[in-house]
Symmetry: C2
């Protein structure tokens, strides 16, 4: 029942502290009067309470055993985490959903000719790493949401299996129709690989990790070093999350116990062909047995064989069968009620479920979240109260396809649309540089956060270190801090791209080493050797995310800004116009080359080269509505910025209350009811995962993908839709400006 400690401090002491911060921190955006200084003191207290020893012990505990969806330890972790939150003063609940989660029953892969080889399909136990010996508790290597299947066919090597690889195969006269493809991890999200293989007629798909990418070609291998040894296999989901994430059987609504479920054959997100991930130990005999053309130079990996494309003479037999069970996922939701705006929610989340022990993915991010929550709990115990409600969420079932977060969001759509101010996500974390992706309406806000947290290795701010690294990399001074646009691959997706809730995804990376991702040696021993031995960057993540939460929760005026958003979107608009022009010129040129038989005149007659078909010429598109909308957006953004500045300097309680209540819903004006073409679940018109990149983002996706995928009839309608949406958005911003008048 103590009051919050800040208030009793003397003014002198406050001034002293203020001076100490003056070098690095200005008053946080959206705080009026002396609230900014109070906030900085609060953050100092928050910061002091963060303890790497907590982080260490929680990681050890949570990653002690495999804790995938449906496992005993997954549930045990939910209960443990729930108890932690309770002990820190949070109201908690565990929301349970029931999701389709396949696990392997049969996994079989053989080379049947011209030589024989039976794939091992198991990772090796490492004597010095007892976690790797928990074999009975582990899910073996597999790709969740592969089809059941039993196929025997010639093999074709398709490099990374991205669209340009299939184009190259066509030029070589190689078809994958009726074949099994072997494809490398990397350069696209794994779920895209079997989809493209299927679209090109393949009957099976084998995915392997090439040693050049994160085996011995990248560094010493586990356990001597951090990279993939010959037997390590990356597990992972191949659900079509670019159609929609979440439970395949309950698209768009919560997978509650009694929810109506689709028949398994009605979903559009389960793969149509069997897919299996393998190690490079298992891949080598298969690749060595391939004939046909030698693979193009850029397709060559790190195995000591000549990479051939096939098809055959390597013929493989792939047999997979799965238990198509329904399993519970447990989302832990811990709430601190806001004192002033209880109906405005600041959400913070990280998932708990892992493919195996998951020390890095996801526990390294989860322990940061717990650390924040505990420290905020301490503030509460000392009498402080947030103005807005804070919700700490720990998601289950992220790995199979953002199941826990998506079902929860779908189940709480109405409340979230009304109450959610912003969602802050994290996932795996390690030593290195600050990464942040998110809504550009929060870029200005987050930049200030990034410059007020110290890098644990260097003492400068994490924001400055990131800029310094960019300067060295680009060879010229980089002074503007930007946040990236978000694609998918973690739990922000349902918030941002389904509901239009402003979101951020945070983490550190670039100095940790390893090929442990989704293997059985992503464990405490590996993490503390190679990812972040002292847990300093898990503490730094807790600072960055925690300060973000505290500022959003406490701001007098919510720190949204539209000028950064305008500039960013303006960049995207220029990009897509450039894209159309470049593609138009390229198409013209290539059609001319085809017409003039230039390929025939140039290509080596001793090698097969199939001249590509002429492509439809690219028409000119009407970008005018979008260009006009951008002018309106700029004007409204400028007007809002002026209004915001005035309001910060001369607070007007009434206007602030109205604007606060409106501004956080602005992002919802960027979603369209009908969603993106062919995938209506994705409704955000500025950010989406690429249909053919997976995790990789496509900005202004409706327009961009219509051009990229040569759906030229769709381009003008998508420009219209985007323009109208941006105008609606701008008008909403203008309405807020009027509230002040």
């Amino acid at each position: 029942m103590k009051k919050y400690l800040v208030y009793p401090f003397s003014v002198v002491f406050i001034l002293f502290i203020q001076n100490a911060f003056a070098q690095t921190s200005s008053s946080p955006i959206g705080f009026t009067g002396d609230h900014g200084e109070q906030q900085l003191l609060l953050e100092k207290q928050f910061d002091t309470a963060l303890q790497t020893k907590d982080i260490d012990s929680w990681m050890k505990r949570i990653s002690a055993y495999p804790h995938h969806v449906g496992s005993l330890y997954d549930k045990a972790n939910a209960l443990f985490i729930d108890s932690l939150f309770k002990s820190w003063g949070y109201e908690t609940q565990i929301d349970t959903y029931y999701v389709l989660f396949p696990t392997p029953k049969i996994r079989q892969l053989e080379l049947v000719s011209p030589t024989k080889y039976q794939a091992v399909l198991m990772e090796k136990i490492i004597p010095d790493d007892p976690y790797t010996a928990q074999t009975k508790l582990q899910l073996p290597p597999y790709n969740a949401y592969s089809a059941d299947g039993d196929v025997t066919a010639d093999l074709v090597y398709v490099n990374y299996g991205i669209p340009e690889d299939y184009k190259r195969l066509e030029e070589m006269g190689v078809s994958v129709k009726g074949k099994i493809v072997i494809v490398k991890y990397g350069h696209s999200w794994r779920g895209i690989k079997p989809r493209l293989a299927y679209e090109h007629g393949a009957v099976g798909c084998i995915i392997y990790s090439d040693p050049a990418d994160n085996g011995y070609g990248a560094g010493d291998v586990y356990p001597e070093g951090a990279y993939k040894n010959a037997y390590a296999v990356q597990r992972g989901s191949v659900m079509n999350i670019t159609i929609h994430p979440g439970d395949p059987l309950t698209p768009g609504y919560g997978a509650t116990k009694d929810a109506k479920r689709l028949n398994i054959h009605e979903t559009g997100v389960i793969k149509k062909i069997p897919v299996l991930p393998i190690s490079y130990h298992d891949a080598q005999p298969l690749l060595a047995a391939l004939g046909g053309p030698v693979a193009p130079g850029t397709w060559v990996g790190g195995l000591p064989v000549t990479y051939h494309v096939g098809p055959g003479p390597a013929k493989v037999h792939l047999k997979l069968a799965f238990n198509w069970d329904t399993k519970p996922v447990y989302d832990v939701i811990a709430t601190l009620k806001g004192s002033e705006y209880p109906d405005e929610w600041i959400l913070r989340g990280n998932h708990e479920d892992a493919w195996v022990n998951g020390a890095s993915d996801p526990v390294s991010g989860l322990v940061s979240e717990l650390s924040e929550a505990k420290s905020i709990g301490d503030l509460i115990k000392n009498g402080w109260k947030p103005k807005r409600t804070i919700k700490y969420c720990v998601w289950d079932g992220e790995e199979p396809g953002l199941l826990g977060s998506t079902e929860w969001v779908e189940d709480h759509t109405k409340e979230l649309k009304e109450h959610a101010v912003a969602y802050i996500n994290s996932d795996n974390n390690e030593r290195g540089f600050l990464y942040v992706g998110g809504s550009h309406t929060l870029e200005k806000f987050f930049t200030q956060v990034a410059f007020s947290v110290k890098d644990p290795e260097k003492g400068i701010s994490v924001g400055q270190r990131r800029l310094d690294a960019a300067s060295l990399k680009e060879g010229k001074p980089v002074t503007d801090f930007h946040i990236d646009a978000l694609g998918s691959g973690s739990d922000y997706t349902p918030f941002l791209q389904h509901l239009g809730i402003a979101s951020m995804d945070l983490g550190f990376g670039g100095e940790g080493e390893g090929g442990e991702y989704h293997t059985d040696y992503d464990d405490y021993i590996d993490f503390t050797r190679f990812k972040d031995p002292g847990f300093h960057y898990e503490k730094a993540l807790a600072e960055v995310a925690g300060i973000s939460v505290l500022r959003l929760a406490n701001a007098d005026i919510l720190p949204f800004d539209f000028t950064h958003f305008y500039k960013t979107v303006d960049g995207y608009v220029n990009e897509v116009q450039q894209l159309a022009n470049t593609m138009r010129e390229k198409t013209q040129f290539q059609n001319q080359m085809i017409k003039d038989s230039i390929y025939e005149k140039v290509e080596d007659p001793l090698k097969t080269f199939v001249v590509p078909e002429k492509q439809t010429a690219i028409p000119f598109f009407n970008f005018a509505p979008l260009q006009n909308a951008m002018i309106t957006l700029q004007q409204s953004a400028d007007a809002y910025a002026n209004m915001f500045k005035t309001l910060e300097e001369h607070p007007d309680e009434n206007a602030i209350r109205k604007i606060n209540n409106m501004v956080y819903k602005s992002e919802q004006y960027l979603i369209s009811a009908e969603g993106l073409p062919g995938r209506p679940w994705y409704k955000h018109l500025i950010y989406a995962p690429g249909f053919y990149t997976g995790y990789g983002v496509k900005t202004i996706p409706g327009v961009r993908e219509a051009i990229e995928q040569r759906q030229f009839d769709e381009v003008d309608p998508q420009i219209e839709l985007l323009s109208k949406t941006l105008l609606d958005f701008s008008n909403y911003v203008k309405r807020m400006v009027k509230e002040k008048k």
Copy 2:
């Protein structure tokens, strides 16, 4: 005693032929009246007599046994070739020089700790390739002009051993001082690698061919495919040819029997440390035993090990001793005397000596030369006579360091300066695209040749096919045919860069496959499987080179042009100005980064990173004299072009004779008596092999290398020298224009 067959042809027939050529060939430059049509008919005859069966049988014979300098078969080849020329009606002579040519006595390499390994140092005999079994006649793998030495030291892996690799090593805090380096073939001429190693303090150098570059990473290996198997080793010279080529003991003058010779310790072109080339079979245990930092990602090759940099714990013992013998080289010179201008010589050359059997290098180019010579011999037998003297040269001792050609050029300096119109070189050849490097005063001339020879695979001209390939590669239409600037690596160097004789180097390539270069499987079997099974491109080379010879020999007005030269040099001048600006900005930026401690703020504290030293700021240079000289050059080139056109249309015998006698000496105005800084043997101020690239060219080398090597005090003097030289050259061109008036 027959007269040349063209003249009896009826005019009607001539017109018919002319029409047939009208699509592809216009009248050759420099031919007046109906001489152009006569020339085209002559070329047709020349062309018809070229026979791939001759080419085949000569290749088989000349490459039947190893024929390196000093071998029995090297001399036998000279005698055989001499007899061929004689049989075709040429006056021949064999000019013999006596050169220092070391051969191995002791070759020993062991890994002595932490594990033991004795290097094999021998190539494997291939059962289906009897040439590879001629072991007793072969020189084993070695680098000629390595030092004798017996060293034991820790190993350091230095990637390709180019300057930027040593910069990266410094940043990693790794020194090669007192160490033995292991370096990959590629990205610089092999002789540069031990020189840079020595300059950085290394005591020994091992060079190996990484399988990623031309072993199994490039394609199937010999004998299944064309690429290097595990035991193949690239031999080669490591003489400092960028100082001067030719016999180390007689720099600048002919190595005749009684020439005064330097003591072996007085030469500047023999390596100071022992150097040995090895296979990737022998390299793998050495690399696997290295510790220290993991090599940067771009340094990783194709062996199934993690590439570490060292130094140590791998320690190796390298022991080499050589027979430092003097050996004869036999240059075969075959002459057809000119009927009208006997004192104007058209020179054509290719070398004969090989490291082993050398079917590709050099016999594939040599057989083209022989085929031309035979066909021209037929023309002679039919009564035709060239206006100018033609000299077919077959060089010995090219492989060790352009010994035969350089000694011959040095021994005939006076006559060559007086009589040599142009030198046309070739070397190894294979299926593919026309390559041509040379003097840009011949670019316009040669472009016409390239467009009048048909590609044997495609029927279009070899010039057009090259442009088409460039269009596809660059993704935009390429319409201008350019010839490359020449660095070094074949026998044009003494002609062009020592004496200033306009030169061209010709060949086809890009469709042959292989890692046979300087190994014991560069033989007839390999060539006919992988390089050019039907010898069609050796015939095409004979056409291109032969037509060049015939046009130069027969032209009424020698087809030199200065507008292409002006444009090309103008490009170089712009490049070096841009280079200075870019380097200046980069230096400023990097010095600022160092001053602001940005590296310290960014680099991973768990890895060694040594911040580079600040560099001297780059001053602004006075390019005005050069810019002014370029204006004069442009004016004189334009005036010459106008004069040339008038003379072609209205021939003036007297003016033509005077201009012919002057124009071919114009290239000599591009050489400077003092030569390039630090290497006076190289006198051409437009083209030179790069001091740190070897074969790779540096254009306007005095200025460019002064900037690149940060010898800033030398830049303005080099600009002055170049400007004065270009003015002298322009004035000489102007004097020719006056001859017409």
